[in-house]
Assembly symmetry: C2
Homo-oligomer: 205 residues x 2
């Protein structure tokens, strides 16, 4: 089970690491972080770099592709080299997936035309500009293309992928191992639930 | 607001990155990943390294200390150099915190004696061996020492820390920005909720 997570400057770290922490437990998981050039790749906030151990050019196939988002995803929607790589690897996958604005890269690669898909709540118009039908669900499955909503939703998507790949008992076990029994102290995690004051705070930021 | 996240070989990546993705948004956040030696630090599963940009020895103070767990935490409970560093930095913090088995390092450093604390469900006896009173809550606050349960609980803890540091509206806004509206496909994230079959699967692993 080769799992490939491409990295690019200004990606969002949790988009990549949330799913990783689940999917690495799959039987025979072989997870590869890849980037244009192997080595440290800096995240969108700046203090954190993850190390890519492979060059994108070395990766010609994957069982599972997980494309993270972040400011870097928006910056790369015109990066034909990356989009071409996504298309080529997608042709080989069992599942091609995205977290947050990673869906914009799938869209820019032409993979979402006419499909239901999701993304971070702030990127809906961008997603639709690629011919996707935005669907405000946390995880949207369209055959072997699966998209998830903002940042933290990648964990929920990964548990569903684990179920698809290894069955429900395994997936529930991975949930137990990462003790994913979420109890956020607030209930403001979606636009529909956040107060006007919170939405104003975000808008002013 | 200096936030320090120490890394050591075989840490659990999500323990560090979950809280990071929230806390980096705090006003004037200055997040530093530190390790015995700066450079890539490999996680417990092996495919992922995060880059430490500072040496532990360079860090003498922090407003917020977040100690991740993982196999590496258990391996370091006898590392007097690390424990001494934790004690010294703790003397300067507003909050000293842990995720998952990071609490074992706080315990080994002598910080949890007689305090209520939590950890990953698999490490309860170890935690209690340091004189802590295990409390099966997701986030346990004891003054300026705050511990959280397994892996993913660091996100919930970080939102509470954000509230303490920047107020409730800011914390709710960060929750919205990472779209943390958890919808796991299963409900097996704690020992109490997991089925016997799932617990057997984990035990056999």
């Amino acid at each position: 089970m080769r799992i490939v997570i491409p990295l690019f400057d200004q990606f969002t770290a949790l988009d990549a690491v949330g799913p990783y922490e689940v999917l690495r437990m799959l039987p025979d998981a072989d997870v590869v972080f890849a980037a244009a050039t192997p080595g440290p790749v800096v995240d969108g906030a700046g203090p954190l770099s993850l190390v890519a151990t492979a060059a994108l050019g070395e990766i010609t196939a994957a069982d599972l592709l997980v494309v993270p988002g972040g400011r870097g995803a928006r910056l790369n929607v015109g990066n034909e080299e990356l989009l071409d790589w996504i298309r080529r690897v997608h042709a080989t996958t069992r599942w091609t997936t995205s977290v947050c604005t990673g869906s914009l890269l799938l869209g820019a690669a032409g993979l979402l035309k006419g499909l239901e898909a999701t993304t971070h709540w702030s990127a809906v118009a961008d997603l639709e500009s690629y011919g996707a039908v935005y669907t405000p669900r946390r995880v949207v499955e369209q055959g072997r293309i699966i998209t998830s909503a903002g940042v933290s939703s990648g964990i929920d998507m990964a548990l569903r992928l684990a179920e698809l790949a290894a069955g429900r008992v395994a997936a529930e076990a991975y949930q137990l191992l990462i003790e994913y029994d979420p109890q956020p102290p607030f209930d403001s995690g979606s636009l529909a639930k956040a107060s006007q004051e919170v939405r104003d705070f975000v808008a002013a930021r």
